[in-house]
C-alpha cells in the first residue's frame, strides 16, 4: 500500500471511528479488518476518546458460548437459595454499552447469530434452562476481523448488521495523526442526527450505489443512509450533502462490494479485480463461459477469488516456517468430544472432559428433595444431590469431513477433466445433505492456484462457483498442492477432517516461484506433496493422463495418497472412489 493510499485509508478509519462513536447502537457497529498491532490499538484509543466512558466497553472472547451471551440459570445462587435464579447474559448486561470482539472471525456461527439478532431486534430473547425472559437492549459492536483468507471473515449473520466496514492501513513507520474530531463534536452530532434531512435523490443515489456494487442485502442500503446523516451531523450540517454521501458510501459499501459497478458511481475504493487478468494468449474455452453476461456468476467468482497480492503473502508465510505437524493435526480427533453440538444428556459423572449439565442434574434431583429431607441428617435448606442424579451433557462431534478437490485446470484437455471434477463435486454435495459434509474446490493453472469453491455444503453456492471456473494455461502443481494444504489447515482449525482429492496428470511445468521450469516444477511439486504426508492429511490422487505415467504414482507415494489411475474417470466412478477413501476406517487416521 503506498503512502497516499494509506493516508486515505487512515482518514477513513478516523472518520469511521467518529461516525460510529456518534451513533453506536443506531449503526449497529463497525467491522474492522486489521491484524492486531499498534495501528489498531491507536485506532481503538481514538474511539475510546470519542465515546468518553471506558467503562462501557465490554470485551468478549471469541470462544464465548451461547449460555454466557444469553444468560441462563445462576448455579451458585440457585443452590444457595434453593429455588431457580436466573443469570443475566452478556448481551442483556451490555445494554447501552459497546461490545468488543477481537478475532471476530473465529466467533462460532451460533454466537454471531445471537449477537446479530439482538442488534437487529433490540431485544434479547432467552428460552433456556427453564427461563423465559425478554429484555430490551441497545448496544454497538466493534468487531476486529483478523481473517486473512477470503472465506475467513466475520459470519454474515453479524457482519450484515454492522453498518461500517473499515480496513486499517498496514503497519506504517510514520506517526499517524489522531482524530480530527473531539468527544464534544461527537456528543453534539449524536444529539443532532435525528434532525438531519436526507433528500430523496441522495437516498436514491446511495441505494443505486449499493445495487451497482452487487450488495443484495437491504441492511447496508438502510445503513448507508443513516451513516450519511451521521456524517452530516458531525460536520455541523442539517442536510446530507454530497461529501456525506461519499463518506458513507466509502465506509459502508466499499468493502462489501461483490462486483465492479458498470457506470462507476460515487465509489472510490475499488474492490480487487478478478485474478485472471493478463493471460489472454492461452485461455481455454472456459474463460469465455466465465466471462459471460451472467451477472451472478461474475459476482460470486470475484468474491471467491483470492487477490494476487494476498496469495503471494500466504506463500511467503508458508516458506518462512510452517506449523508443526502435531499442532495442525491436534484436535481433529479427540477421545471424548469437548465441543460440538449438544445431543442430549445422559446419566454419569463429570470429569475427563465430560461436562456436568447442571440444569438436568437439578431436575433429576428435584422430585426427591422432600423424601431426602426426611431421611437425611444433613442440615436442611440445602439441596441433596446424590451420585445418581448427576447428568452429563452429551456433545456430538462428528468428525465432519471436508473433501477438497484439487483440480488441474491447465492445458487444452482441462475442460474435460474440469467437467468431471465439477460433476463429482455436485454429486458428492447431493450426497452430503444427510451427513452434513462439506466440499471445496481448488483449481490451479497458469501461475498459481485459487480456491474456486470455499468449503460449503450449499448447492446454490457450489453451482454458482463451479459454473464460473475457467480452464487453460500452465501447470503449477506445487501451488495447487500448497493451496490445498492451506485450506486443509483451515478445515482442521474448525475441527473438521479434510480429505484431499488431487486430480492431475502429475506433469508440472510451473515451479513454485512461478517460473516455467519443468525440472524445478516437479521437484517443487514433490516437496509440497511431502508436506501433506508430514501433516498426515488423508489424500487420494487420481491420475487423469490418458495413459498412466510413473510420475503420477511417484507423486502419490510422496503424499502417501491412495493412487487411482483413472484415464477416463467419470463423475460416478470418481464419487465412489472418494467415498471409499474418505470413509475407509483402515486408512491412516489424521
Amino acid at each position: 500500500m503506498d503512502l497516499e493510499q494509506a493516508d486515505g485509508a487512515w482518514d477513513d478509519a478516523l472518520l469511521g471511528a467518529a461516525i460510529f462513536a456518534s451513533d453506536p447502537s443506531g449503526l449497529g457497529g463497525v467491522c474492522v479488518r486489521s491484524q492486531p498491532g499498534p495501528i489498531r490499538d491507536f485506532w481503538f484509543a481514538q474511539v475510546e476518546n470519542l465515546i468518553g466512558q471506558p467503562s462501557e466497553f465490554r470485551r468478549i472472547p471469541c470462544a464465548v458460548t451461547e449460555d454466557r451471551l444469553l444468560g441462563g440459570l445462576d448455579l451458585a445462587a440457585t443452590l444457595s437459595a434453593g429455588r431457580p435464579i436466573g443469570e443475566t447474559g452478556i448481551l442483556a448486561e451490555s445494554d447501552g454499552g459497546i461490545l468488543l470482539l477481537a478475532m471476530a472471525e473465529r466467533l462460532p456461527a451460533s454466537a454471531a447469530a445471537c449477537i446479530g439478532e439482538a442488534l437487529e431486534r433490540g431485544i434479547v430473547s432467552v428460552q433456556r434452562d427453564g427461563i423465559d425472559h425478554q429484555s430490551e437492549v441497545r448496544f454497538g459492536v466493534i468487531a476486529f476481523d483478523e481473517g486473512i483468507d477470503e472465506d475467513d471473515h466475520v459470519a454474515a449473520a453479524l457482519s450484515d448488521r454492522l453498518a461500517l466496514h473499515l480496513r486499517l492501513p498496514e503497519a506504517s513507520a510514520r506517526e499517524l495523526p489522531g482524530s480530527p474530531y473531539s468527544a464534544k463534536t461527537v456528543a453534539r452530532a449524536a444529539a443532532e442526527i435525528t434532525g438531519v434531512v436526507c433528500d430523496e435523490d441522495v437516498v436514491a443515489a446511495l441505494c443505486g450505489a449499493a445495487f451497482a456494487l452487487g450488495i443484495r442485502s437491504f441492511r447496508p442500503s438502510a445503513a448507508v443512509v443513516r451513516a450519511a446523516r451521521t456524517s452530516a451531523a458531525l460536520n455541523g450540517r442539517s442536510r446530507v450533502e454530497e461529501e456525506d454521501a461519499g463518506n458513507a458510501a466509502r465506509l459502508v459499501l466499499a468493502l462489501r462490494a461483490t462486483m465492479l459497478p458498470q457506470p462507476a458511481p460515487e465509489e472510490q475504493n475499488e474492490p480487487e479485480p478478478q485474478e485472471d487478468t493478463g493471460d489472454n494468449d492461452r485461455q481455454g474455452p472456459g474463460d469465455d463461459q466465465a466471462r459471460g453476461p451472467m451477472m451472478d456468476v461474475v459476482l460470486d467468482a470475484s468474491t471467491a477469488a483470492i487477490p494476487p497480492g494476498l496469495l503471494e503473502r500466504l506463500k511467503q508465510a508458508e516458506l518462512g516456517g510452517r506449523k508443526s505437524a502435531k499442532s495442525a493435526g491436534s484436535g481433529s480427533h479427540g477421545a471424548a468430544p469437548r465441543r460440538g453440538r449438544p445431543a442430549g444428556v445422559k446419566r454419569g459423572s463429570p470429569g475427563a472432559g465430560k461436562r456436568l449439565n447442571v440444569i438436568e442434574t437439578l431436575r433429576a434431583a428435584a422430585p426427591w428433595q422432600p423424601l431426602r429431607r426426611q431421611t437425611d441428617t444433613a442440615p436442611t435448606g440445602r439441596l441433596k444431590i446424590t451420585q445418581d442424579d448427576l447428568r452429563i451433557s452429551r456433545l456430538k462431534h462428528q468428525g465432519k469431513a471436508t473433501t477438497i478437490f484439487v483440480v488441474d485446470a491447465s492445458g487444452s484437455s482441462a475442460m474435460h477433466r474440469l467437467a468431471e471434477a465439477k460433476g463429482a463435486v455436485e454429486l458428492l454435495l447431493a450426497d452430503c445433505y444427510v451427513r452434513r459434509d462439506q466440499v471445496a474446490l481448488v483449481a490451479f493453472r497458469n501461475q498459481g492456484a485459487e480456491i474456486a469453491l470455499p468449503p460449503t455444503r450449499s448447492l446454490v453456492r457450489a453451482k454458482r462457483c463451479l459454473a464460473a471456473l475457467p480452464g487453460g494455461g500452465g501447470t503449477p502443481l506445487a501451488a495447487g498442492i500448497d493451496a490445498a494444504a492451506q485450506l486443509a489447515d483451515q478445515v482442521v482449525r474448525r475441527d473438521e477432517t479434510p480429505v484431499i482429492v488431487l486430480l492431475t496428470d502429475g506433469r508440472a511445468n510451473i515451479a513454485a516461484d512461478g517460473s516455467a521450469d519443468r525440472g524445478r516444477a516437479n521437484i517443487d511439486a514433490k516437496s509440497s506433496a511431502r508436506r501433506i504426508r508430514a501433516v498426515g492429511y488423508r489424500s487420494l490422487l487420481i491420475d487423469t493422463s490418458p495413459r498412466p505415467q510413473p510420475v503420477g504414482r511417484e507423486l502419490a507415494a510422496e503424499m502417501d495418497a491412495t493412487y487411482l489411475p483413472l484415464p477416463f474417470a467419470d463423475s460416478k466412478v470418481l464419487n465412489d472412489a472418494i467415498r471409499s477413501v474418505a470413509h475407509d476406517p483402515s486408512a491412516s487416521m489424521v
Binding site: A156, D160, A364, L459
Partner: protein, 341 residues
C-alpha cells in the same frame, strides 16, 4: 413491546406475502419455508403477520390456548384452567406468533419439569414450553438451517401430528400443539435435508428486488419507520385492517370454494410432470389454491390460482438432480407452461 413494521408497508415480495396469507387462511397447509438472501425482509414479513391476524377466542388461563367452542379436542392432563364442557370462560387474545429464539434449549421448546416448584415445594408439575404457547398460532424459526438437527426433527414431528408428547423427568404429558411452522434461512449457509423440506407445505424463494425504484422505496419506508415507529404504524393501520378483514372473510368463504374435477386433474398432471414424490404435493397445491381463491373472493378454483401457488407448493418437493443446471423454480415453471399450454 416495540411496534412491528406493518405488513401492508412491505414493498414487493408478493410470493412470500401470498404464501403467508394463504397459510393464515388455511392452517392445515402445513408450514411455510422462506429462503432467501440476507436482509431481504424475511423476518420482517413474518413478524408483521403477527400484528395483522384477527384475534381468537381461548379458554381463560389455559396455557395451551384451547378453543372454548371446540369440544372435540382434549386439553392436556393437569391443565390449570381445568375446563370441562360445562364451565369454560372464554377470552379473546391475539393469535400467538411465537418466536423460537436462537439458543433456545429443548426443555423450553417442549416444556419440562417446573424447576421452581420442584425445588421449593418438591412438587412435580409441568411447565409448558413454546410449543404449548404456539398452539393454534404460528411458530417462527429464523435461521432454521442453523437450528440443531434434533430440534428441527422435533418441531416437524409435532407440527405434523398436532400433539406434543413429553416424556422426561418422570413426566408424561401430551397436549395439543397445532401450529403453522414458519422457517426462514439463507441457502448460502447450508440447505435443509430433503426429507425436512418436504414437510413444509409451502416454500418461498425470495430475491432482492432488481429495480432501483422499489429498492429506494424499501429504504425510505424503513427509515421512516425507524424515525417514528408509532406514527408509521398509525399511517398504515387502515391498510393493515383491510387485509385483516379480508383474511376473516376468506376463512369464512373457503369451505364453499369449489374445486372442479378438471382443476384437480391438472394439478395431478403437474405433479406427474415434475415427478414429485408422494401425494403431499398435490394435496398442498389443492388446499393452497382453494385458500387463494377464497382470498380473491372467487367461488371456484381456476387456473390462475393453481399457477400462482404451484411454485410455492411444489418447488421443494422435486427430486434433486445436481447435474441439472436449471433451478427448481425454473423446472416448475417449465412444467406449468407444459400442462396449461
Amino acid at each position: 413491546m416495540a411496534p412491528t413494521f406493518p405488513f401492508s408497508a412491505i414493498v414487493g415480495q408478493e410470493e412470500m406475502k401470498t404464501a403467508l396469507l394463504v397459510a393464515a387462511i388455511d392452517a392445515t397447509i402445513g408450514g411455510v419455508l422462506v429462503f432467501g438472501d440476507r436482509g431481504t425482509g424475511k423476518s420482517t414479513a413474518v413478524r408483521a403477520l403477527a400484528s395483522l391476524l384477527p384475534k381468537m377466542s381461548v379458554v381463560a388461563d389455559c396455557p395451551y390456548n384451547d378453543d372454548p367452542d371446540d369440544d372435540s379436542t382434549v386439553c392436556a392432563d393437569g391443565c390449570p384452567a381445568q375446563h370441562t364442557k360445562v364451565q369454560k370462560r372464554a377470552r379473546s387474545v391475539p393469535v400467538p406468533v411465537v418466536d423460537l429464539p436462537l439458543g433456545a434449549t429443548e426443555d423450553r421448546v417442549v416444556g419440562a419439569l417446573d424447576l421452581e416448584l420442584a425445588l421449593t415445594a418438591g412438587k412435580k408439575s409441568f411447565e409448558p414450553g413454546l410449543l404449548a404457547r404456539a398452539n393454534r398460532g404460528f411458530l417462527y424459526v429464523d435461521e432454521v438451517n442453523l437450528l440443531e438437527d434434533h430440534l428441527v426433527d422435533l418441531l416437524l414431528d409435532v407440527s405434523a401430528s398436532g400433539r406434543n408428547v413429553v416424556e422426561r423427568e418422570g413426566l408424561s404429558i401430551r397436549h395439543p400443539a397445532r401450529f403453522v411452522l414458519i422457517g426462514s434461512g439463507n441457502p448460502e449457509e447450508g440447505d435443509l435435508r430433503p426429507q425436512l423440506l418436504d414437510r413444509f407445505g409451502l416454500s418461498v424463494e425470495i430475491d432482492t428486488p432488481r429495480d432501483l425504484d422499489s429498492r429506494v422505496e424499501v429504504v425510505r419506508r424503513r427509515s421512516e419507520f425507524e424515525a417514528d415507529p408509532d406514527a408509521f404504524v398509525a399511517k398504515w393501520k387502515r391498510r393493515d385492517g383491510r387485509v385483516r378483514n379480508r383474511i376473516v372473510t376468506a376463512r369464512r368463504q373457503m369451505p364453499s370454494v369449489q374445486i372442479s374435477d378438471s382443476a384437480l386433474e391438472s394439478m395431478a398432471n403437474l405433479c406427474l410432470a415434475l415427478g414429485t414424490d408422494g401425494l403431499r404435493g398435490e394435496l398442498t397445491l389443492s388446499r393452497a389454491s382453494r385458500a387463494l381463491a377464497a382470498w380473491e373472493g372467487a367461488e371456484e378454483v381456476d387456473v390462475s390460482h393453481i399457477r400462482t401457488m404451484a411454485p410455492s407448493a411444489l418447488r421443494h418437493r422435486l427430486r434433486r438432480d445436481p447435474l441439472d443446471e436449471a433451478g427448481s423454480t425454473v423446472r416448475v415453471e417449465r412444467a406449468i407452461s407444459e400442462v396449461f399450454h
